[in-house]
């Protein structure tokens, strides 16, 4: 499998053209909203210059401190998204959800968020945008 694209002739099919256009517009709208939010907003004081917001394969990347996880979760809960919804969106089974999220935010807990969960959490908060490499 290599990167190939559909023939341009596919666009002659009105049904394909319609679904292609709608889907692309929806994706572009979410991407534009995400990027604007990421680059223009003040994110309630979260510093996007921290190493935890670097690309995951960047040598300087490091996991966030508990305070950053807490602020990131707050950013989402302030938008009306509950902690259970947040963990559900990361794919954590319901029975483990809230306690686990609380552990990631609790200074006294040894449990740290792992890298992929952090990337998805920070993405949902609109702080980073992992894309095609």
């Amino acid at each position: 499998m290599t990167d190939t694209f559909k023939s341009i002739a596919a666009l002659d099919d009105p049904a394909f053209l319609k679904s292609f256009t709608e889907e692309r517009e929806a994706l572009n709208d979410s991407a534009r909203l995400h990027i604007s939010n990421m680059l223009i907003c003040d994110h309630d004081g979260i510093d996007r210059g921290l190493n935890c917001f670097r690309a995951i394969n960047d040598q300087l990347f490091e996991l966030p401190g508990k305070d950053t996880v807490k602020l990131t979760v707050k950013l989402l809960t302030d938008r009306g998204i509950s902690k259970s919804e947040i963990t559900r969106c990361i794919g954590i089974p319901e029975r483990r959800s809230n306690p686990l999220l609380n552990k990631w935010m609790n200074e006294d807990s040894d449990s740290k968020i792992n890298k992929s969960n952090w990337i998805v959490l920070a993405t949902m908060a609109g702080l980073i945008l992992p894309m095609k490499i």
């Binding site: 499998m1 290599t2 990167d3 190939t4 694209f5 559909k6 292609f20 889907e23 692309r24 994706l27 572009n28 709208d29 979410s30 991407a31 534009r32 909203l33 995400h34 990027i35 604007s36 939010n37 990421m38 680059l39 223009i40 907003c41 003040d42 994110h43 309630d44 995951i56 394969n57 989402l76 938008r79 009306g80 998204i81 919804e85 947040i86 559900r88 969106c89 990361i90 794919g91 792992n114 890298k115 992929s116 969960n117 952090w118 990337i119 998805v120 993405t123 949902m124 908060a125 609109g126 945008l129 992992p130 894309m131 095609k132 490499i133």
Partner: protein, 165 residues
């Protein structure tokens, strides 16, 4: 310069305090990232991708129709990335897992093992392969307000264009 008028949820403050250089570089970064996102989205929609765009494994986990990927689907995405010259160790690095021997990745790819790829790693793999993207999470009210606003703006723009013709 006038204040940026935006929805409160975006928490955007004024840009009055920024210098012209800061505004220009910010705008350039937005344009670059926007171009990247468009390229990414084009791949998702127009690419001959190993996974069909409407496959349930591309849905968000919150969608009741979501089905985790099979090892065959996972392998096809890894193959796509490898066809771009990436090695399994690079892929592992980009997933934030130990690249030594690509053990976790190989484990997830092995149909005989019962440990599937965790959802967050799967989403990340989809993002780096350009097959799907995770974006900002908003509640339905806010999303609806934004959608309405975008539709309104598109309509105004198209009416304005008709007026010009």
């Amino acid at each position: 310069m006038s204040n940026l008028k935006v929805d409160k949820f975006l928490q955007i403050k004024t840009i009055d305090s920024l210098s012209q250089d800061e505004i220009d570089s910010g705008m350039t970064e937005i344009a670059i990232r926007d171009a990247f996102a468009r390229n990414h989205n084009f791949q998702s929609v127009f690419g001959e991708n190993p996974i069909e765009q409407n496959d349930p494994c591309l849905l968000l986990i919150t969608d009741e129709n979501y089905i985790p990927p099979t090892t065959v689907q996972l392998q096809s995405v890894v193959d796509l990335l490898m066809s771009r010259g990436l090695k399994k160790t690079h892929i592992s690095k980009n997933l934030g897992i130990n690249p030594d021997g690509s053990r976790s990745l190989n484990y997830w790819l092995n149909p005989d093992k019962d440990r599937p790829i965790p959802y967050a790693s799967w989403r990340l793999l989809l993002a780096i392969s350009g097959l799907s993207a995770t974006t900002i999470l908003l509640n339905e009210d806010v999303k609806q307000r934004i959608t309405d606003k975008v539709i309104r703006e598109r309509k105004n723009k198209s009416e304005a264009l008709k007026g010009v013709k």
